[in-house]
């Protein structure tokens, strides 16, 4: 150990109680912020996987120029045609940032059970892409409970079932479809309910997995198809539980008599590249004459729930970090001030024997660096202990607006630790520097005769 560090270590031992309390304050602050960081990291990952994979928004979603706002009302005008899709696919081919992409069709209509008709909002999905999405490592790790259907199997397991559909639990309840395809060992004979007002009607409605889907096709004609309920699931957010319906892209395209899609979702290898990729892709597509807009998943227009939640969380985190960092910094400043004033005569002596202001400052900065390092190491151990305890306790919460529960995991990643070290250590050093420099501005002769020695 060099002489300066050795001296710093010895000086820290001088007032063990005060320095110990300061290190404990740093440790508690670090641990608290680490745990908060771990929680927010976990929530962000949950929201992101939900948005990107479970809601099928992709990291980047390519819409017709005004498709996001108008495709619902005028789908034929504002969807992506087969030609558009080819151009987009061509632009994505060979791009090393892209993992895969898929077209999705959104549509609205009416779902009936022979007695009752309710509106639905459908999403037509490529079954292969659905399979890839639910098998994403982050999805399996964070949202395994949310991709598992409440009843029945995954849509991609029923490729041989004509008109296979999955109903959100709320919609299934409204339609009285409490049983799915598997419960009947295959397509059940359609049950005709003679009297929807009779006491037997509910059981009769649940006697098959058939639903009728009716909608206006892209060319304005009334169209209808039969659907076979293969699963009942929870949507990623509760507000869509009573109307969401998933089916294969081809089934929905058949209902709407179109080969168009509402948007193309692009799934990237690195989620952090979403924003630059979206800008780049949009520019390239516009370059080939395609009037489209590419939205990264961080755009509030396509991901209001993700962006809104993260904005709230980030505001909360900033406030808490400022609060805790202020307490830590004040603690360090208090200790630094007391130490510097107590050792004024010693500072004067150092100056008298030839130490420059910078050299004396360096001695104190070494002390605060060691003190902070000890506090941060203690905080690291403490946050790990708390995170492990919480994980073992298997605490589960219901995030607002999300059906099902999520295990509370507080384990912060290296990025959180590094960010906190990068925040707290320089702050501690900075306030000590300010305190020492201020004292060093005084005349050496005054320091040598200071009474607080």
């Amino acid at each position: 150990m060099t002489d300066g560090w050795r001296l710093a270590l010895r000086n820290l031992r001088r007032n063990r109680r005060r320095n110990g309390a300061t290190a404990l304050g740093i440790a508690l602050g670090f641990a608290g912020l680490s745990i908060l960081g771990g929680y927010v990291t976990r929530i962000e990952l949950f929201l992101r996987t939900n948005t990107v994979y479970l809601q099928h928004g992709g990291h980047v979603a390519v819409y017709h120029a005004e498709g996001l706002e108008k495709a619902g009302a005028r789908p034929a005008r504002y969807s992506l045609t087969a030609t558009d899709q080819v151009a987009i696919r061509r632009a994505l081919e060979g791009d090393p940032r892209v993992e895969y992409s898929a077209g999705y069709l959104r549509g609205m209509g009416l779902a009936g059970n022979g007695c009752r008709t309710v509106p639905f909002a459908a999403l037509g999905i490529d079954p292969g892409v659905l399979q890839r999405n639910v098998r994403q490592p982050d999805v399996r790790r964070i949202s395994a409970d949310f991709v598992r259907p409440v009843r029945g199997g995954q849509l991609f397991d029923y490729l041989d079932v004509d008109g296979a559909v999955g109903l959100a639990a709320g919609l299934a309840r409204l339609l009285g479809k409490t049983r799915t395809h598997d419960d009947f060992g295959g397509p059940a004979a359609a049950v005709v309910v003679p009297d929807c007002g009779s006491p037997e009607a509910t059981a009769q409605i649940a006697g098959d997995a058939n639903v009728q889907l009716a909608a206006l096709s892209f060319d304005g004609a009334l169209a209808a198809i039969d659907g076979e309920v293969v699963n009942v699931f929870h949507t990623p957010t509760t507000d869509t539980e009573d109307q969401t319906l998933y089916t294969t892209l081809s089934t929905l395209q058949r209902l709407y008599s179109t080969d168009a899609v509402t948007y193309v979702a692009v799934y990237l290898k690195k989620w952090r590249e979403a924003e630059p990729f979206a800008r780049d892709l949009e520019a390239r597509l516009r370059g080939v004459g395609l009037g489209v807009v590419a939205y990264p998943f961080t755009d509030e227009r396509v991901s209001p729930y993700y962006v809104g939640s993260m904005t709230f969380l980030q505001s909360m985190v900033v406030f808490i970090v400022l609060l805790v960092a202020s307490v830590v910094v004040l603690g360090v400043m208090n200790t630094g001030t007391l130490t510097v004033y107590e050792r004024s005569r010693e500072i004067g002596t150092f100056r008298a024997v030839g130490y420059t202001r910078s050299q004396v400052t360096g001695l104190f900065l070494r002390e605060v660096t060691l003190l902070s390092a000890a506090g941060l190491a203690g905080g690291l151990a403490l946050s790990h202990a708390v995170a492990t305890g919480v994980r073992l306790a298997n605490i589960r919460i219901s995030p607002p607006g999300v059906p099902g529960t999520l295990q509370v995991v507080l384990t912060p990643g290296p990025a959180v630790y590094l960010a906190l070290v990068a925040l707290l250590l320089p702050l501690s050093i900075l306030v000590t520097w300010l305190v020492v420099r201020r004292r060093l501005q005084e005349r050496t002769a005054d320091l040598l005769t200071a009474t607080t020695a």
Binding site: T356, S358, T444, A445, L448
Partner: protein
């Protein structure tokens, strides 16, 4: 006559104590030459410490000039003055001002840690020599609180001498010591003055000490009243050597004791 090592010309210094201005030095002019052993004598509040601080480049005058080896210290930056203090001037304080967490060796080492002129390989030999010169070789690893007042002052002297300064300043170096220890500390200073030709300039009230110096500077109310006074009694012709073992006056622990 050789040019003085330190030369003060018309130095003024005034302190502000609240609303009151207190003149500490009022037009001090003084030369100190290489190898002199000079006492600075004056009543309390006469400006002795302020004058020592001026000579040691620890403080700056409001008016007048301080030349060290012909260089006006007012023209030096703070860092240059620090280097000058480190390489040319040693300081001994009345209350020793040792760093309590450092042992004797480390306290003596302090000025050398920042002295670029002394190679690291040479550092250890110089420190041990300085400690030996003040006869504390058996206390190298003792902390200051395990030493007597006389021993602590000898550590301070070793610290002041380890850089081989041309000038050693001491502010009432024997004020906190008993008479026996005072005698031995003065012996040591005289011995170093003669053997190494180190210039000593120190403030004191001690008549016995004043009697042993070659030159006395009298100061009163911030004014030098006699810059070339002679002591009342002749200086000791043959300075006594400091004994190797601690004596009654030192009152310190036995050598080799542990911290």
């Amino acid at each position: 006559m050789a040019s003085p090592f330190v030369s003060l010309a018309d130095v003024h210094k005034t302190y502000r104590l609240g609303e009151t201005l207190v003149p500490a030095l009022r037009g001090v002019t003084l030369d100190l030459h290489q190898g002199e052993f000079t006492a600075l004598v004056g009543p309390s509040g006469s400006g002795k410490s302020t004058l020592l601080n001026m000579v040691g480049c620890i403080d700056e005058p409001d008016r007048g000039s301080v030349l060290v080896e012909g260089r006006d210290v007012a023209h030096l930056s703070d860092d240059e003055r620090s280097r000058l203090r480190n390489q040319k001037i040693g300081v001994i304080f009345q209350s020793f001002n040792l760093v309590p967490v450092l042992d004797v060796y480390e306290n003596v080492e302090l000025p050398l840690l920042i002295n670029a002129r002394v190679p690291k390989a040479e550092r250890r030999d110089r420190i041990l020599q300085a400690i030996e010169d003040v006869e504390l070789a058996d206390f190298v690893r003792h902390l200051p609180d395990k030493l007597s007042g006389g021993q602590r002052q000898r550590v301070a002297i070793a610290r002041a001498l380890v850089t081989s300064p041309l000038l050693v300043l001491a502010d009432e170096p024997t004020a906190n010591l008993d008479s026996g220890t005072t005698h031995r500390i003065v012996d040591l200073m005289l011995q170093l003055n003669e053997s190494r030709k180190v210039t000593f300039f120190f403030s004191t009230h001690d008549e016995k000490l004043i009697a042993r110096v070659a030159r006395v500077v009298y100061i009163s109310d911030g004014v030098i009243v006699d810059a070339n006074g002679v002591p009342a009694a002749p200086r000791d012709p043959q300075p006594r050597h400091v004994a190797a073992e601690p004596r009654a006056g030192d009152g310190g622990p036995v050598p080799g004791g542990r911290r």
